[in-house]
């Protein structure tokens, strides 16, 4: 067996109530599981490469990104109008439309619809909003059996873990990790790590739940105001099964998912799966504008902090996100630290900017889990300025006094150093000299976090400042 198949899967961040999540601690444990870390890194980088290959096949790719970004900006500027238009059209098609201002109300509405229909068994396709609202936990407390029908999501449900990625929820697990979960929960053959066997086991054990469900639930990738339709993109066909088999279909969707017209839908469908998985389209792109024959359809429009975020000049653009996960796949920090290390529903670059809007104290460490390299911004299909927002969060956290003690100490001393040019230059020169002469163990040790997993660059013989002073300035002027 390979190292990956023997190594135990590292668990995610330890959540302690409202205390700040220690992403670094969980990331270190993930990195220590080197076979998992390498598999994760390679798998996501592979998705990034496939995305690039798709991008190069579409001459109008950048034009599509601009359009997508402009459509989202326009829609956010007229969000209330488009939501009203959607509601009007959906109702005319026979859809019941509900409004929920927060997670709690959304959960209550959904539980209420199920109760009204005496529905005890719910099959559900993947929904990040559902995760955000802790919907499954809420419904289970109300006595409803909830079965996830997406393979990755089902693995995570059975392992009592959160999804670690918005598109591939179990990407951090090896086939052995999955096998262990299925042996424990689905009565799978012990030691059978064949991926086809594992996928078939899930297919065959989930199907009876789908056939006997009282209700089906899906999220939504897009809402089209013009036609009052819900659009869902999946590869497994599980959303279509969940929505079309039971008599009741409930959709839960964030209010920012709306777009004005069908012509705009084409832009997003062309970008979504290419950005996410590097495939031209998802296997199923499904369109629900009313209940099926003999069925009933409900749409729950959920705010949960979105309308407040809309008012923020700095962080509003986060509402453009179409949850493709491209920013995660390209992020060096995410690929090496694993999605569960973030301890939040949304991980990776998009998680760094969304999570603090839900709870600034709890997620105050996340905006620092970035190298600010800007790769996330470069791949974002709707052109969210991710790395700029990550930086803006660091400023905001400093202003709101939400920096950790160690960061405050470093900032205060660096602040003093930067305020005194002479002292700063001396420190740089001394540092460079020291780096050249210090023995290896003194540079690469526990105290120097920069020396972990990377080589410290060779210091230049001379600083730019002293070179400039020597060549272009009169002697003695350089320090002023």
């Amino acid at each position: 067996m390979s190292d990956l198949q023997q190594e135990i899967q590292p668990k995610g961040a330890k959540i302690k109530g409202n205390k700040p999540v220690n992403q670094l601690e969980a990331a270190n444990r993930f990195i220590a599981a080197s076979a998992h870390q390498q598999m994760h890194d390679q798998r996501l980088w592979d998705l990034r490469k496939k995305r690039d290959a798709q991008m190069h096949l579409i001459p109008e790719w950048e034009e599509l990104r601009d359009l997508a970004s402009d459509i989202k900006s326009h829609t956010l500027d007229h969000l209330a109008d488009y939501l009203e238009e959607f509601e009007r059209n959906a109702k005319a098609n026979g859809v019941h439309v509900h409004w929920a201002k927060d997670a709690q109300e959304s959960n209550q509405i959904i539980a209420g619809i199920l109760k009204e229909h005496d529905a005890k068994n719910l099959v559900k396709s993947k929904s990040m909003l559902g995760e955000e609202c802790l919907l499954r936990q809420h419904l289970e407390e109300e006595g409803v059996t909830v079965i996830e029908t997406d393979l990755g999501e089902r693995i995570q449900q059975l392992d009592k873990e959160d999804p670690s990625h918005v598109v591939v929820p179990a990407v951090h697990k090896s086939r052995t990790d999955v096998s262990k979960v299925f042996v424990k929960t689905l009565n799978a053959e012990e030691g059978n790590n064949d991926v086809h066997y594992l996928a078939t086991t899930q297919r065959e054990t989930t199907r009876p739940y789908i056939l006997n469900a009282d209700a089906g639930m899906t999220g939504a990738n897009f809402l089209v105001a013009e036609t009052g339709a819900v659009v869902v993109c999946t590869n497994e066909g599980n959303a279509d099964l969940s929505a079309n088999t039971p008599p009741l279909h409930i959709v839960t969707v964030g209010i920012e998912k709306i777009i004005p017209k069908m012509e705009h839908l084409a832009v997003f469908i062309r970008l979504l799966s290419r950005s996410a998985l590097g495939s031209p389209i998802t296997q199923y792109t499904s369109y629900f504008s009313g209940p099926r024959k003999g069925g009933e359809m409900h749409v729950v429009l959920v705010d949960n902090g979105r309308s407040t975020r809309l008012a923020s000049h700095k962080f509003k653009a986060g509402l453009k996100c179409i949850r493709c996960g491209a920013c995660m796949n390209t992020c060096p920090v995410f690929r090496r630290s694993g999605g569960l290390s973030y301890g939040s529903v949304y991980a990776g670059p998009i998680g760094l900017i969304l999570s603090p809007t839900y709870n600034v104290h709890k997620y105050r460490n996340l905006p620092f889990a970035s190298t600010l390299n800007g790769s996330c911004t470069n791949v974002c299909p709707v052109k969210i300025n991710l790395h700029e927002q990550i930086f803006a969060w660091r400023e905001t956290l400093a202003e709101e006094k939400e920096l950790s003690l160690s960061k405050r100490i470093i900032m205060t001393s660096l602040g003093k150093l930067f305020a005194h040019p002479k002292a700063y230059r001396m420190a740089v020169q001394t540092g460079d000299k020291l780096l050249s002469y210090l023995p290896h163990f003194m540079v690469y040790n526990q105290l120097n976090t920069w020396g972990r997993q990377r080589d410290i660059p060779t210091p230049p013989k001379e600083t730019f400042h002293s070179w400039y002073a020597k060549n272009y300035m009169k002697k003695g002027k350089a320090d002023e």
Binding site: W99, V168, D240, H264, A266, R270, Q283, T285, D303
Partner: protein, 193 residues
Amino acid sequence: MSSREFILTQIRQSCHTERSEAPTVPFFHQDPANIVDKFKQSLIAMGGQIIETDPQDPYKFVKEKIAQSKIICSVVPEILGNRHLTETTEPKELQDIDYGVLRASFGVAETGSICLTEQDLFINTLGYLPQHLIIFLDPKQIVENLHDAYARSEWKQIHYAALHSGPSATADIEGVLIRGAQGVRSLSVLLIE
């Protein structure tokens, strides 16, 4: 105040923008000449299959394929199945079908997708519960790209339609691609008027 009023009021207080028009989207047409070939290539790349026709009997391959299966449900007049759907058939009754045979409204060359509306499906689960699907598609009904696809009139006439691009698939475990996740295990297209 109802939650609806609360949310709409909050949003209206957050946005102070003058009314502007939504961006218009071009059609980005490129290569209308090889549309059928492009469709075939794209469908195969998505894991679907193209059924080659026999000039003597265009349905020969389909008939052979379904002759080996037990339960066949056809909603096209050209093929006779042994499972018949009626207005009162429940969606879950389609669970034991081996082959579903139906005709798609249109195809999309860019992505190899076929559009199945609720009218094409007769019962929506016919697209998902059978183990395999055979789809008839008129080559004249293939459009170049998704912009053309979403400009079609079908969307405004139905309550449900889906673009199927090959069979169901998953790569959730170690990135290994598996055809046949929750929906059908294979999807074959016969290009015929």
